[in-house]
């Protein structure tokens, strides 16, 4: 059995912060080593959840676009429907990130459109903020 990557990163982060950093206490390097340790800790969390977070973002936006495509007009409607139908091509984190970024650009456009709809856009605006809230929640980074 090989070591779990997240566990290895977290273990080495603690070695840096707990064992190596005190050897250079009071120096500029101490701060840098502690920061690198914190970055490793973050990386241990992110490598575990990155793909799932991106997939959840993508599917959340696709569901929104499916609904919104029936509400908005013209070219935007067509592009929303196309984005809602687009399949995930690869589960590489870089590929998922690129897919999510494309959808987020469209989300910005949709939200701007919904803001101009006046009272008639209330439900759509609320729906969009729900997507943004879930996005913010799933990406929270905390060391504690």
């Amino acid at each position: 059995m090989k070591p779990n990557l997240g566990h290895a990163l977290a273990t080495e982060a603690l070695t840096l912060i707990g064992e190596i950093s005190p050897l250079v206490a009071g120096s500029y390097r101490e701060g840098s080593i502690n920061t690198i340790g914190a970055m490793l800790m973050m990386a241990s969390i992110e490598q575990e959840r990155a793909a799932e977070n991106s997939v959840n973002s993508i599917t959340d936006m696709m569901a929104l676009f499916m609904e919104a495509g029936a509400i908005v007009d013209g070219d935007l409607s067509e592009r929303l429907k196309a984005a809602a139908d687009r399949e995930i091509e690869s589960y590489l984190v870089s590929s998922l990130s690129a897919h999510r970024d494309d959808l987020q650009r469209l989300l910005i456009e949709l939200q701007t459109y919904a803001e101009a709809m006046g009272a008639g856009g209330q439900a759509l605006r609320k729906r969009i903020w729900g997507v943004l809230e879930r996005e913010a929640d799933r990406n929270i980074m905390a060391l504690g």
Partner: protein, 347 residues
């Protein structure tokens, strides 16, 4: 940084000090070390020994040198002028001593200021750093912020160095600046920041009550305090400008700086107490509508800072890991804060 590089800086400093202090002699630099602080510039602490008027003197100093690649940056003069302008007022700052923009001395521009010893700086990510004297610290922190707002702008010398907006234009100048930073530097789309920017433009704040010096990064982590809990120095004036004093209040009370205690602004005292201290020292009236606007604005400004840091790190312009770490932690935190502030207003 190796010993040779430090020795080179030490030699350069001595040559420079001989030039600007011709009345003194016997210069000796000791305890020279690079320290963390103010990520935009290389910062060093040192001890300087010299003789003048027949007496031996020893002085603790801080050297702030521009990083590679920012030779046309003019902010150093702004920062230096702010230290000089506030020294001797109710706003505690280290004395600004020398600024040098001629590259012949140290390859890059730099300035030298007094060192304040025997003090601490809290990390913004440290839980409850002010436990024993939080409320006393809060009174000082927000009173000093009020004093900055009350300071005569003309007396600081900053007016000549920065664009001065009209009372009604402060918000647009700042929002446009940070929107452009996000436009230029974003590595990925920012739907939450974009929604916030649109909201801020649709709902502008009332005009500033007064044009004041705005520190620009007035928060926990940017001041020195002693073991008695007395604030001895307000630092990191790189982003100083002239504008609406509510901008600083909205940054100082941003939930990101609460040290995990949302009921205490800056991890120090209640928002209500902070308002009282600030009003007394500034002579200004707290305006809830203006505050809410500047609170949201400051999350956008924060995102601008973190996005810009992330870009600098990703481009390899600056390898300081704190830039990447701030990009990760603070971007996600400010996105979350913005959603909480806006979802009921906008959704």
């Amino acid at each position: 940084m190796n010993e040779t590089a430090l020795q080179e800086i030490s030699d350069q400093l001595v040559r420079y000090l001989k030039h600007v202090m011709p009345e003194a002699s016997g210069f000796e630099v000791s305890d020279l070390a690079r320290i963390h602080g103010g990520a935009s510039r290389e910062t060093y602490r040192l001890k300087l020994s010299y003789a003048t008027e027949g007496r031996e003197r020893v002085r603790g100093l801080i050297l702030r040198r521009d990083p590679v690649g920012s030779l046309i940056d003019t902010d150093r003069r702004l920062e230096f002028t702010a230290y000089a302008g506030f020294h001797g007022t109710q706003v505690p700052v280290p004395a600004a001593l020398f600024i040098e923009e001629d590259l012949k001395w140290m390859e890059r521009p730099f300035f030298i200021m007094e060192r304040i010893d025997d003090c601490e700086v809290a990390s913004p990510f440290q839980p409850s750093p002010y436990d024993d004297f939080g409320s006393r610290m809060g009174e000082q922190f927000f009173s000093i912020l009020g004093s900055i707002a009350a300071q005569d702008v003309e007396a600081t010398g900053l007016r000549e160095l920065v664009e001065v907006p009209g009372l009604e234009a402060c918000w647009d100048k700042e929002l446009s600046h940070w929107e452009k930073v996000i436009d230029d530097d974003e590595l990925e789309p920012q739907p939450i920041a974009r929604a916030a920017i649109r909201y801020l433009r649709r709902n502008p704040p009332p005009p500033a009550q007064r044009l004041s010096v705005v520190h620009g990064d007035y928060r926990t982590g940017n001041f020195l305090y002693d073991s008695e809990g007395t604030i001895k120095g307000i630092l990191d004036w790189e982003m100083v400008h002239i504008g609406d004093p509510m901008e600083d209040f909205g940054w100082a009370t941003n939930p990101l700086w609460a040290h995990g205690t949302p009921e205490k602004v800056g991890g120090m005292c209640s928002l209500q107490d902070a308002i009282g201290y600030w009003e007394t020292a500034s002579g200004l009236k707290f305006d809830k509508q203006a505050y809410e606007w500047w609170l949201i604005f400051n999350c956008v400004k924060g995102l601008g800072i973190w996005i810009s840091s992330s870009k600098e790190y990703a481009d390899g312009e600056n390898h300081d890991p704190v830039l990447a770490l701030a990009g990760w932690i603070c971007t996600s935190a400010h996105n979350k804060i913005l959603v909480e502030l806006l979802k009921d207003k906008e959704g």
